[in-house]
C-alpha cells in the first residue's frame, strides 16, 4: 500500500476551491452517475426554509432572501407570554445589551432576529409593543407568522429537542442564540443568557483575519 496517500486521495492545494472532481465518466456505470456537486450558493440557500414571516413592523419578509442571505445574523426564539422559567424577558434584555455592544454595525451588516414561539398570540402589534418595552433599536426584528410556518422554521433552525415530549413543551424551549456569517457558512451558538460580552466576542471571533488575543 502506498502509505503516503493511503487515504486514497491527493492533497489538493490549500487555497483551491473546496470542490471535488467527479470520477471519470467512463469508469462509472450508468446508474451511479447520480451525484452532483452543489454550488455554494445553492447549498447556502438549501440550508434554510425561505418561509414568509411578518416583522413587528408588519412587513412581510422571506426568511432566507430578506433576512439571512449575505448577512451576519443572531437568531433566537421567544414568546411574549413566557411564564415557565420566565427566561424570555431576561434573554431579550440580555440581547438588548448585546445589540448596544455591537454598536452601529447592527442594521448595517449584522442583524438580530427574535422569532416567536406563540404566533397566535404574538401578532406584529404585540411584538412591536414588546420591542418598544426593551428599547430595541434598528436592525433587530421580532418575527411572527403562520403557526405551521413558524414551527417549521423553528425545526429548520434547530431550536428543537430530539425528545418529542420536551420539544412540544414551550415552557422548556431552547434558550440559545445562534449566530452565523451566512456567506461564509460559519454557524455556531451559545445560551442567550451568556454574558453579553461573550456573545459579542463569539460573533467577532468568527470573522476572518481578526487578530486574536490569548489568555
Amino acid at each position: 500500500m502506498n502509505r503516503r496517500h493511503f487515504w486514497g486521495g491527493l492533497a489538493v492545494g490549500a487555497f483551491a476551491s473546496a470542490g471535488v472532481a467527479l470520477i471519470e465518466p467512463h469508469s462509472v456505470p450508468q446508474e451511479k452517475k447520480r451525484f452532483a456537486e452543489i454550488p455554494a450558493a445553492e447549498r447556502r440557500r438549501n440550508r434554510f426554509l425561505n418561509a414568509v414571516l411578518r416583522t413587528h413592523e408588519g412587513e412581510e419578509v422571506r426568511l432566507y432572501d430578506d433576512l439571512i442571505k449575505d448577512r451576519t445574523v443572531l437568531i433566537n426564539f421567544m414568546y411574549t407570554n413566557c411564564i415557565g422559567e420566565a427566561t424570555c424577558p431576561l434573554m431579550t434584555a440580555n440581547l438588548a445589551r448585546v445589540q448596544r455592544a455591537l454598536g452601529p454595525r447592527v442594521g448595517r451588516d449584522i442583524f438580530m432576529y427574535s422569532i416567536t414561539l406563540d404566533p397566535e398570540h404574538d401578532t406584529p402589534g404585540v411584538l412591536k409593543q414588546y420591542a418598544r418595552a426593551f428599547e430595541v433599536q434598528q436592525g433587530w426584528l421580532f418575527l411572527t407568522g403562520n403557526k405551521d410556518t413558524v414551527e417549521a422554521v423553528r425545526r429548520n433552525l434547530g431550536f428543537a429537542y430530539s425528545d418529542p415530549v420536551i420539544d412540544q413543551d414551550r415552557t422548556q424551549h431552547i434558550g440559545m442564540v445562534k449566530y452565523g456569517i451566512e456567506p461564509l457558512e460559519r454557524w455556531a451558538g451559545c445560551a442567550a443568557l451568556s454574558k453579553p460580552e461573550t456573545i459579542v466576542r463569539n460573533v467577532f471571533r468568527m470573522e476572518p483575519k481578526r487578530a486574536r488575543a490569548f489568555g
Binding site: G8, A11, A188, E197, G215
Partner: protein
Amino acid sequence: MRRNIITSDTRRREKIVGRYMQEIREIAKAGLSRRELLKMGLVMGAGGLAGLLGTRAFKPYWAHARDVFPFISPPNTPFQDALPIPPVMRPVTLNPEPTEHPNPHPAATERVPHGVAYVTGFTEADRPAHQRWEQFLPAEMYESIEQPVSNNFYPAVDGVPPSTVWTFVERSTGAIGPLRIKARYGEPVLHRVHNALPQENGGFGINKTSTHLHNGHTASESDGGPLHGYDAGQFKDYHYANARAGFASTHPETALNGRTVRGDVRETMSFLWFHDHEHDFTAQNTYKGLASFYTLASDDILLDTDDETTGLKLPSGEFDIPMLFMDKVFGPTTGQLFFDLFNLDGILGDKETVNGKIQPFLEVKRRKYRFRLLGGGPSRVREFFLSNGAPFIQISNDGNLLPRPIERKSIRLQVAERVDVIVDFSKARSGDRIYLQNRLEQISGRGPTGNIIAPTNLVEFRVAEDAPDCAFDVTKQLLALPDMNARIAQRRHWKFDRSGGAWSVNGVFFNEEISAFIRQNTAEIWTFESGGGWVHPAHPHMEEFQIRTRDGKPPPIYEIARKDMVGVGENVIGTRNSGEVEVFIQFRDWLGDYPMHCHNTVHEDHGMMILFKVVEAVQ
C-alpha cells in the same frame, strides 16, 4: 411535507426507531441488490425521498428516522477497502528554528511533495513563551499543515465522489491524516502546525484552529485550549515535554526496571491523540478530519517500548494499529461529508468510518495484535464486540496502562475515551472472517439507550497466514497506580446541566472568565454530576485523574485506572444512570489556563465548558 410528530413518551418512540433500523438491517441481510434497493427508494436523492415516502412498508417510520439522521447517506459496499494505517510522521529540521518566544522569522521555503500547501511566509501566532524551554529543548521535531484534502470514504465500486476534508498533512512527505506521531519519554517533541485552511469551508468548519494534545501533561500555551486558536496564514509550535507528571513537584525522580527517570513512572502514558479544539467549532472541525494519533513509548523504563522484543513485549510495528472511529453522514445527492449545523443534542452519523474509510477490512496474521481504539465523536458511544465471541484483553484505559490486563467480552467507549486491547488471532483459522462490531443502541445525540442490539460491523479481519507471535504475558502486572494520599487542598463540584435549554456547568455558560484558580502542585477532589436523560463525558485538561467513587461506590474494575475522560449520566454503565463521579486529580508542574468540558463536542461547543487556571502558590 406533513410531519408526523409523536407526542407519546420517549421509550415508545425509541422502539419505533428501533423497528425502523431493524427493518433496514433485515433488508441489508436479505442481500437485495442495489438496483432493488433503488427501486424501493432506499437510495436517497430527490426521487429516492419521494419513493421512500411512497413506499408503504416504510412510511410509518420515516418521520422518526428523519429526526435521527437529517438524511440517509448513499449506501456503501462493505469491506472493499483496506483499513488505512496511520502514517508515522518523520522527524525533520525546522526552518526557522523553533524559539522560546513567538518566532520572529516566517516559515522558510521547503521542497514539498505535490499537493502539499504552500506555507512559505507563514508567521507564528502570538502566544506566551514556552515554559521550561531550556529544560526540555526539543529532541524531535515534526511539521504538519492543516489543509483541504480529497478523501473518498467510500470504496470506488460505490461510485460516490470523494469528500473534501480538512486534515493534518505532513509537510515533508505529503502523508495525510490521521497521522501518527511516535513520541518517546525523555525526548521532548516540537510539533509545528501550519494553518493553511481556506475561508471557503464547503458548508461547515472554520479556518481557525487550536490543536489540543488530548491527555498531554502539557504547558498551557502548548495545550491547544479553546481560546488559543490562530488564523490561516499562521503556524504555531506546540511543545510537548514528554515528561511524567510530578517531574517538577512530587516525584523529581523515580525508578522502574532499574532505570531512574524524571517524574512518577506510574504516570506513564501510552496512547494520546490530537484534534482541533477551536472555540465553538471543535465538533465541526474535528468531524471534518482534524484528528490524529500520538503514541508515547516508555522504552526509557523498559515498559511499553514500541519493540516487542523488549519491556512488556507488547505487539509492535505492523501489529500495533490505532483506529479512529467516527460516524458520519454523506449528502444523498452530493456524496459529500455533511454536518448538521443546527443540532444541539449531539450528532449521529449513519456511516461508521475507521481512519477515514467506511467499513474497511484488515488482513491479519495468526498472532496477537494491539489495537488502539478511539471514539472520535461528535456524540456516539460504542460498545465493541468481536463477532466470534472472543474476548478483548484490555491493557489500558484512556491510553494509560492498567495495573494488570483485564479480559472483557465487550468494551463500552465514550466519546474521546481510548482503550488499548490485545486481540489474539492465533486460534482463528486462516481464511476466517472476524468482525469488530458495535452493538450499543443509540438513536439520538443525547446518549445511548444502553440496549445491546444487533451488531454493526466496523472492521472485517481477514485471517491470513501464520507469523511469529510476541511474548506478551497476559497474566503479568503492567503498571501500578499512583497513590492518592496527597493532602486535598480543595473540593470542587461540577454539575453538567441543561439550563434554559442550553448547556451549562454549574449553571454557567462558557465564557472567558476563570471559574477556578488552582494552586500549582496541589491535589483536589472533583465531583462530576449530571442529571438523568443525558450522557456527558467529562474531560479536564492538564493532568489525568483517578476515579474514587461512582455513585458513592467503588468504580468497576476497568475504571480503576488513570483516566482523562469519564462518562457521567444516563446509561453510562449498562442501562443505568450514573449521575455522580468523584475523582482525585492533581495540578502539577505547569502553569496557566486550561478547560474542563463535556466531550460530546456538540455540548462543548454550546456552553458546556469552564476554564480553570493553575497559578503559583503564594508562600
